[in-house]
């Protein structure tokens, strides 16, 4: 795997703080030191903070015997071992007990489940197993049987059990190396030198390192490094929320508000699966989560549930969206409301499943046969996933059309403070359920929005047939008449366009007019906001317009763009919104800034590009 120094995959600060904690015999110092040395060799600045137990050999498994080693690595100059942990590795219950207070909710926690025995739990002072009692729910818990996996990897070496156990720190290090894209080579060389002549120990440790690395790869573990630093948080009650969790909750809220049952048809795929993981937990809100046999059945079952009157959604990532295209077209054609969530990852094809990218925008907009416009919206931060899932549901139910919600691996797995929203403070959602039978046909429309009236199986007198074949504009019967078809194509497009009357205007941050407007969409908001605000506060004539509604766009988009001399479109692809803007918003001078490395933008690279654009003559 490619391991360039920039691969810390974080936001503008590009730094990561990891603490390894275990029993004093678990080799945590060596493990932490290897992580630090490898990172230094890859060009990072590092700062470390070892923390030994006061007793040299405190009783094994006790809280006094916990040894820790904290490592701070960064692309930029750093001077401290870091305050906020991004990851805690706890090799036993005592290590968890003594270190958990330093880990914020939403951050990554690796534990060795094999060490959470009743005996060790008791020694650490736990009355119940924290892995099982739900008390670790707010963390990104990776509960791995590290000891037994290490043993399994070394089984044929003929070693004693105790000796095999000593390599579990290398297994753990292998996992951490995968997550942060570190090269194993330095550590393998180190082991060869340190254990020179003891071939079996070199083999055991190198093998454990590789096994841990492969294990993390197979689990598709993703680093959580999302950081946004909004200027100032509003007063109120907060919780830390992860993007995919927020997405799931947004749908639950929307279903409750709309007085609908929520149906999810889904097939597991990285990095979207944990929306499914979250929703299966909530039958108490009448959430029906159906794990289907494939991506197509995921969307098809959601469509079937929507036809029967549920708020129906399907969740996926890029390759899955490709498979769902035909069924989304059917929902568009039959004007059935549903929401498709695409948590984007690096593409094309299987691509980079654990990395972030924004390269599915064109697929979201145009990835269906025929003239097939649908609403496309994008969440811009972990907490905004809640709002956009809610909004996608509202638009689907009120405008009778599929809505595609774009998220991405970066915000989906990232977390941030969320100002808690209760049901009462959310806007109303009024599904367009038909109420007057007289004169009704399946294509009776609202004259303003053009949304058709929804009759649901079980409703007496409204029995009707829908389908993928073109229908008569009035009766809804199958119709192949040329002019009727053209009229229906135009109505479906116009219906989506008129959604612009029902969405908020585009806001500008920084300068409201001037030299350079930065335009972005989706998960790049945190990076773009930080860069633009830092330049704007220094007096540069720069503003930011970040799009959450991509199809249709807010009505004032053209007006916002026209107030700037240059518009630079920044995306984690080769220029997909850039392409769309040329015909959706013509008449502006567009520049672009793109990155396709599976990584978010860093602040410094953005600022460099913006400064260059400000300097250049128009």
């Amino acid at each position: 795997m490619d391991t360039k120094i920039s691969n810390i995959s974080s936001n503008d600060i590009s730094s990561v703080v990891v603490r390894f904690a275990g029993d004093s015999g678990d080799g945590m110092q060596l493990t932490g030191a290897q992580f630090a040395d490898t990172s230094a060799l890859m060009g990072n600045d590092i700062a470390t903070f070892p923390n030994y137990p006061s007793e040299i050999r405190a009783p094994q498994g006790s809280v006094y015997g916990v040894s820790g080693f904290q490592v701070h690595i960064s692309n930029e100059k750093i001077s401290t071992p870091g305050d906020d942990l991004d990851m805690l590795v706890a090799m036993n219950p005592a290590a968890l007990k003594t270190n958990l207070a330093d880990l914020s909710p939403g951050k990554m926690l690796i534990v060795d489940t094999d060490s959470f025995t009743p005996k060790n739990l008791k020694k650490a002072g736990y009355s119940a197993n924290p892995i099982e009692d739900g008390s670790l729910e707010s963390y990104r818990l990776i509960a791995a049987p590290i000891t037994s996996l290490t043993k399994a990897a070394l089984l044929d070496l003929g070693m004693k059990e105790k000796s095999m156990n000593r390599s579990k720190n290398m297994f753990t290090l292998g996992m951490v190396y995968w997550i942060y894209g570190r090269d194993k080579k330095h550590t393998v060389d180190f082991l060869k030198k340190k254990f020179k002549g003891k071939e079996i120990i070199i083999e055991a440790n190198s093998r454990a390192l590789k096994a841990g690395n492969v294990y993390a790869e197979n689990l598709e573990l993703i680093a959580t490094t999302y950081q946004v630093r909004p200027a100032k948080l509003k007063k109120g009650k907060y919780r830390i929320i992860m993007g995919n969790q927020a997405t799931a909750w947004g749908f639950i809220a929307a279903a409750q508000k709309a007085n609908k049952e929520l149906f999810l048809g889904s097939y597991p795929i990285t990095p979207a699966s944990n929306i499914l993981h979250e929703l299966v937990k909530h039958p108490e809100f009448k959430v029906k989560s159906f794990q289907a046999e494939d991506e197509i059945a995921g969307v098809a079952s959601a469509f079937g549930a929507a036809f029967a009157g549920d708020l129906a959604i399907t969740t996926t990532s890029g390759p899955g969206l490709a498979l769902k295209g035909e069924a989304i077209g059917l929902a568009m054609m039959t004007e059935i409301p549903m929401v498709i969530v695409n948590v984007q990852r690096g593409g094309p094809s299987t691509g980079l499943p654990t990395k972030t990218e924004q390269s599915d925008l064109l697929q979201a907009m145009y990835g269906r046969n025929g003239e097939s416009p649908i609403i496309v919206v994008a969440a811009n931060s972990p907490s905004n996933c809640f709002d956009m899932a809610y909004e996608a549901s509202r638009l689907a139910l009120e405008h009778m059309t599929p809505v595609l919600l774009l998220s991405d691996g970066y915000i989906a797995n990232g977390s941030e403070p969320w100002l808690i929203k209760t049901l009462g403070e959310l806007p109303d959602i009024t599904p367009r359920t038909v109420s007057k039978l007289k004169g009704w046909t399946p294509y009776t429309r609202d004259k303003d929005t053009l949304a058709r009236e929804w009759a649901i199986p079980g409703m007496e007198g409204y029995e009707h047939r829908l389908g993928g074949l073109e229908k008569n504009v009035e009766t809804g019967n199958v119709n192949m008449d040329p002019t009727n078809h053209e009229e229906m194509v135009k109505i479906r497009a116009e219906k989506v366009k008129r959604v612009e009357n029902d969405i908020p205007e585009l806001e500008v941050e920084g300068a409201a007019e001037g030299d350079l407007l930065v335009v972005g969409w989706g998960g790049t908001y945190g990076s773009l906001h930080t860069a633009v605000m830092s330049m704007s506060s220094k007096g540069e004539s720069i503003g930011l317009a970040h799009l959450k509604y991509i199809n249709p766009m807010p009505k004032n988009t053209a007006e916002v763009f026209s107030k700037f001399k240059k518009v630079v479109v920044c995306e984690l692809n080769t220029g997909q919104l850039y392409k769309i803007l040329h015909f959706a918003q013509p008449g502006h001078k567009y520049y672009k800034y793109n990155k396709v490395q599976g990584l978010p933008f860093t602040g410094s690279e953005l600022i460099m590009r913006f400064e260059q654009l400000l300097k250049e003559e128009a």
Binding site: P105, S138, K235, G236, K237, Y238, R239, I240, W249, I252, A253, Q256, E261, F263, G265, H282, P283, E284, F285, K286, K288, F290, A292, E293, D294, I296, A297, A300, S301, F303, G304, A305, A306, F307, A308, D310, A312, E326, A327, G329, L330, T334, P417, I420, T422, L423, G424, P457, G458, E460, Y462, E463, H464, R465, L466, G467, G468, L469, N477, V478
Partner: protein
């Protein structure tokens, strides 16, 4: 719930002109369904027909119930969502051999495996009709079609083998020209809670005319088809003197009165036997073929399991509202 209304077959027909080729067995199936529905004790607003793509899949347009003409191969998946969204509906899937066994094979086997309470009617004509005569997954080896001018080289599926292999709890087979038997079979299928899979041997007059003549035609039917009924002897033949007898791992055709064979020696059909071995042997028979309800074994349906589990959880967490969810666990105030 309102009291069930009384219907005739005419109430079940929509105002749309039926557009299958003259002489197609699809007309027979449509009439049989329209005859069966008034007998199932359901209001028509609670009945949904969901189809895929192909000649057969135009079916929902001709029914005066709710209907969805979906996309190729996906009807079973769409219907699964419909049934889970509203388990009170009577859900019917209309599909063909290309739709259910080629492009939609995955959804078919998984619907059967889960045992979703719905009725799948497979119009098997052993050919692609709508796309003009290409071979299908049930076309026989050597069959000459638009895409196999020198004979089909792809060995076929036997839908019965496939269904029972996927743990089908209800499998039936019927000739496409026996409307009376068909209607009673559809009623039985609807009353069965679980996936009822019904293969109709449906003649395509244009591209594969006569494919089932030996089994379906009045003149030859009796000697080449055994219509099975639960609890009855497997006796057939023009003179009702032939029967099926188990001989080791083979089913053999014997004649009553010959070689000392008496009616006692003929097998009695047990459609309710949970062990599928004999059912599997029966559906594999080439001549005579067996028809009727071959397998009907009660087991909780998927929607019952699914809804049951949800009800349990709902009960266990009574009174919980959305605001409890967002306020649970770690929260903090910013002033």
């Amino acid at each position: 719930m309102t009291e069930n209304k009384k219907y005739t077959h005419k109430d079940m027909a929509s105002d749309q002109e039926v557009r299958w080729c003259p002489g197609c067995d699809d007309y027979v199936i449509l009439r049989a369904v329209q005859k069966a529905l008034p007998e199932i004790g359901r209001n028509k607003e609670d009945i949904v027909f969901i189809s895929g793509i192909g000649c057969s899949s135009r079916f929902p347009y001709y029914m005066n119930t709710y209907g969805m003409h979906s996309i190729h191969g996906r009807a079973a998946a769409v219907a699964t969502g419909t049934k889970l969204a509203n388990p009170d509906l009577s859900v019917w899937v209309i599909t063909g051999d290309g739709d259910a066994l080629a492009i939609g094979g995955n959804h078919t086997i998984h619907a059967i495996r889960r045992n979703v309470d719905m009725n799948i009617i497979l119009f098997n004509n052993e050919i692609y009709g709508l796309t003009k005569g290409q071979f299908s997954p049930t076309s026989y080896l050597g069959q000459k079609t638009t895409t196999s001018p020198f004979g089909n080289t792809q060995p076929p599926f036997n839908p019965g083998e496939l269904a029972i292999g996927a743990n089908s709890r209800f499998f039936a087979r019927i000739s496409g020209n026996r409307p009376k038997e068909m209607a009673s079979l559809f009623i039985e299928a609807e009353q069965f809670k679980g996936t009822s899979f019904i293969e109709v041997l449906q003649n395509c007059v244009i591209f594969n005319d006569g494919a089932f003549d030996l089994f379906n035609k009045k003149e030859t039917r009796a000697d080449n088809q055994v219509y099975l009924e639960h609890g009855k002897k497997m006796i057939f033949g023009h003179d009702s003197n032939k029967g099926l007898k188990l001989n080791g791992l083979e089913i053999e055709v014997v004649t009553i009165g010959e070689n000392g064979i008496t009616e006692e020696d003929i097998m009695t059909h047990d459609a309710h036997d949970p062990n599928p071995t004999l059912h599997f042997m029966l559906v594999r028979m080439k001549n005579p073929i067996v028809t009727g309800v071959i397998r009907s074994v009660k087991e909780m349906s998927f929607d019952e399991r699914f809804v049951g589990q949800m009800k349990e959880q709902l009960e266990a967490s009574k009174g919980i509202i959305f605001d409890d969810l967002v306020n649970a666990g770690q929260t903090y105030m910013l002033d």
